[in-house]
């Protein structure tokens, strides 16, 4: 076991991990942060998206030991924060989820897309979202929610 020191959702923590543990497994199994969902473990579906030093990453293909000295934020860390509350509300209003399994990863990626593209057109949202799989919605509500959330965030800033 190795000790990893990192900042997780704003709090400095030390966690014992195995060298082979993925960040997703450590979050879910070791830290009980089960909001990060695991859909493929191959970096293909995006359900496990978290941020690492502010950048969206797939936590299933990040080794936990690589997080030494770094900052991780999971979906749990975004509760009652802006702009995620706005994005979350638009997801609700636009029927952007059905089973909800992809939703934590979608929200993390939505915030990342809006940060990088404050005024995204539909084609931009679609291509930026191409690494996230949703099996239920056909993406329509998700794309609409990101577009309308971006607009509200732009207008309130």
């Amino acid at each position: 076991m190795t000790t990893v020191n990192l900042t997780l959702n704003g709090e400095a923590i030390s966690q014992q991990v195995h060298a082979r543990d993925s960040l997703a497994d450590v979050l879910r199994e070791g830290l009980n942060l089960t909001g990060t969902h695991v859909g493929c473990e191959q970096g293909a579906c995006g359900a496990c998206t978290v941020t690492l030093d502010g950048m969206a990453v797939r936590s299933c293909i990040v080794l936990a030991v690589m997080c030494e000295g770094r900052t991780v934020e999971t979906i749990e860390g975004t509760r009652h924060t802006e702009p995620m509350d706005i994005i979350r509300r638009h997801f609700h209003e636009k029927h952007a989820l059905q089973c909800g399994f992809c939703t934590p990863g979608m929200l993390m990626m939505a915030r990342d897309i809006i940060a990088r593209h404050p005024d995204p057109d539909e084609a931009t949202i679609r291509s930026q979202l191409s690494g996230q799989i949703c099996r239920c919605t056909g993406y329509a509500g998700i794309i609409a929610a990101i577009g309308s959330a971006a607009r509200e965030i732009r207008e309130t800033n």
Binding site: H37, H95, L129, G138, I142
Partner: protein, 707 residues
């Protein structure tokens, strides 16, 4: 204990599907051993030490070859590799044998995975305080899982509790008893601590329920004017190696055969079906069950016939479609289409896609060398079918009803327990809307509870587009019974005759006087002295519901797609996708649209991307999302949806089920659009998914044959 599965038919060959394989392993991914350790990683280390020794038998992979005489039987004593051969026959196909036009075509829908984003998973432990087995599992039907697991484990049902807390998608694939479920529970019963198995994506793609693999060999008999007289065909369903509890693979074949005439006025049908065993993962239900294949076959064949006769494909459908004035119409497949205007829906879609504009664009050609194609398809979706239909199917379980318990609490808020299970269909919302309508209160004061066999009344779960009809009906019925009692108590509190009071806006009114539901709820629950004589305390009603005619009510729709396709690379882009559909009364239009769009996205996956191929030795070739192509946001177009509303005569509020419909038509629509794009060279599109390779091969073959 072994549970028999499949239809209760003497001609169906029942086989044992052991939780862990015995002396013979029949497909890659069949569980042979279970390893238990403190963590998944340690269990996988242990599994890596397990050595498997066995003799290799010849693999049976090709669906049609499987039932040839010299093929190795998968099961000892079987004369051939078929679970069942059966014929569906109505009318007299021989009477049209000398029809002026006879068109023979073959179509194939390849095997695919169901692939909800959440894989399967199960946790089981013996609760020593309550002396019961507690099972958390990702299932579409906790009550049926309790029923089957209790039997396989030899436990009385009151000692088994199944909880499905928040299921991450099912689409049919989480509606069967699987060997891993039995194994995990059996281990939990012996080891004294909780046991967990979470399927990983590789396991899912290899060994979870697979779907869709059908071969159609069909002949259309028609007049020169385009009237279709009869269909003769052969359907091969590749069921994989085992039959899954409860209903096994035969339903696919009978549904495929009975849906083959589609919504057309055809008078003669004869379809031979073969439900074939191969060395592949067992076939199970997936959104649409058999109908995407049947729709692909008939709708492709209709286009082929149109081209043969030089009639516009839309016109050919106009000639043959069931008309509004024909309703109710019994198809030659024995399905009674109850209400609707099928030609009206088709004309609406024709308008939505601007046919003359597309034809002009095709004439002009594209600067990038791509071809433009336009395709149509019509589908029907049987929903809300109950006892009559399921007994006709000889089902071991007859999901002929649903139940609901509506309980008003002392403050006037409501909890409703339902036997159905929501896993993305929005049932918490729609069922609350239905109860709110009956009770005249805000839906926000109603909580729907599902997914725990200890907390909800008996139900069959969510599948077969049945929830809104059955569970919606049960909620409406139980809520109406409760509303009656509320009116009785309210009348007493107002000292008014029962006949003079009305329940509206959350209060019982007698003229200008009124008493709010919260006050009635308080009286009914905690102030029994305020109740009228002869009215028992308590505000809880349970009802079961089944529609009076249980043959089912039919949603339907017409889809159209405009595609652009590169003839060299075979890459297909959907430029426009239009839908006119009719699912009767819509309880929540936003949820209806969500179900349509999600279904179409899955149908586009079937049409263009998703495939679970096997090599000749039975090795599955798509085992990760790297080689199993899931449609993502850039692949799914924005849909243009128009609704028709023809309420069912036969259900509460005129609703019809509609969860599966979106997934039925897309393979047919897109194949017809591709065929249209290459009409000049007559390229053939008769197999899903229409991957770039298949499309460019079809174009190359067509060019070759012109040479």
């Amino acid at each position: 204990n072994h549970l028999d599965s499949g239809p209760e038919l003497a001609s169906f060959r029942v086989v044992k599907f052991p939780a862990l394989a015995g002396d013979r392993v029949r497909y890659v991914g069949q569980p042979v051993a279970a390893c238990v350790a403190r963590t998944r990683a340690e269990a996988e280390d242990l599994a890596a030490l397990v050595v498997f020794e066995g003799d290799v038998l010849p693999a049976v992979i090709d669906t049609r070859d499987a039932i040839k005489p010299d093929t190795t039987p998968l099961f000892d004593g079987w004369p051939d590799n078929a679970f069942i051969h059966a014929t569906v026959s109505e009318g007299d196909i021989a009477s049209v044998a000398d029809a002026p036009v006879i068109l023979h075509r073959q179509f194939k829908m390849n095997r695919q995975s169901v692939a909800p984003l959440e894989t399967r998973g199960i946790i089981a432990h013996w609760d020593y305080r309550l002396d019961e087995l507690v099972i958390y599992m990702s299932t579409q039907g906790p009550h049926l899982m309790r029923h089957s697991l209790a039997q396989t484990l030899g436990l009385p049902e009151h000692k088994v509790r199944v909880i499905a807390p928040d299921v991450g998608g099912g689409f049919g694939g989480k509606n069967r008893l699987m060997p891993e479920d039995i194994a995990v529970c059996a281990i939990a019963l012996t080891c004294g601590h909780p046991v967990r198995w979470i399927e990983d994506r590789r396991e899912h793609l290899i060994a979870a329920v697979q779907a869709r693999e059908h071969v159609y060999d069909m002949t259309l008999y028609a007049e020169r004017n385009g009237r279709v007289l009869g269909i003769k065909g052969e359907v091969f369903v590749d069921a994989g190696a085992y039959s899954l509890w409860p209903s096994g693979p035969y339903m696919e074949a009978s549904m495929a055969a009975r849906n083959l005439p589609g919504p057309y006025r055809i008078e003669h049908l004869e379809v031979e079906t073969h439900t074939v065993a191969t060395n592949k993962a067992p076939l199970g239900p997936y959104r649409g069950v058999a109908r995407p294949g049947a729709c692909f076959a008939i709708e492709r064949a209709m286009d082929e016939l149109a081209h043969e006769l030089d009639i516009d494909p839309v016109e050919l459908r106009r000639i043959n479609l069931v008309r509004a004035s024909d309703m109710p119409y019994r198809t030659i497949g024995g399905l009674v289409l109850d209400t609707g205007d099928y030609p009206g829906a088709m004309e609406a879609v024709v308008e939505m896609v601007d046919v003359p504009g597309i034809r002009a664009r095709q004439q002009r050609g594209e600067a990038d060398g791509r071809r433009i194609g336009l395709g149509f398809a019509v589908y029907t979706e049987q929903s809300g079918h109950g006892t009559i239909e399921w007994t006709k199917r000889k089902s071991r379980i007859v999901p002929g009803y649903e139940s609901a318990t509506v309980r008003m609490l002392p403050d006037g808020t409501v909890q409703i327990g339902v036997g159905i299970l929501n896993h993305g269909q929005g049932l918490e919302t729609t069922l609350a809307q239905i109860a709110a309508h009956e009770l005249t209160i805000d839906p926000g004061r109603i909580a729907i509870r599902h997914g725990d066999t200890n907390a909800t009344p008996m139900g069959f779960g969510t599948f077969a587009s049945r929830s809104i009809v059955f569970s919606g009906g049960a909620v409406a019925k139980a809520s109406a019974l409760l509303a009656d009692k509320i009116r009785a108590i309210g009348a007493h509190l107002l000292q008014a005759p029962l006949t003079s009071v009305v329940l509206k806006d959350g209060a019982v009114h007698a003229g200008p006087a009124s008493v709010p539901i919260a006050e009635i709820a308080r009286a009914g629950n905690v102030r029994p002295e305020m109740l009228p004589a002869g009215v028992a305390p308590g505000l809880e009603m349970t009802a079961t519901y089944e529609p009076p005619d249980s043959g089912g009510v039919f949603s339907y729709g017409v889809h159209a797609a405009i595609v652009a396709v590169d003839p060299e690379t075979g890459v297909v882009e959907i430029l426009k996708y239009a839908i006119a559909e009719d699912c009767g009364t819509m309880i929540n239009p936003m949820i209806v649209d969500g179900q349509i769009i999600g279904g179409v996205a899955q149908g586009i996956g079937t049409a263009l991307y998703e495939e679970s191929p096997y090599d000749a030795s039975g090795e599955p070739l798509a085992t990760t999302f790297g080689d199993y192509m899931m449609p993502c946001a850039p692949e799914i177009p924005t849909l243009d949806i128009k609704h028709f509303v023809s309420p069912a005569h036969n259900t509460q509020h005129g609703v019809k089920g509609m969860g599966e419909g979106g997934a039925i038509a897309p393979p047919a629509v897109i194949a017809n659009a591709l065929t249209d794009a290459f009409r000049d060279i007559d390229a053939k599109f008769k197999e899903t998914p229409m991957t770039p390779r298949r499309v460019s091969d079809a174009v190359a073959r067509a060019r070759e044959s012109l040479r």
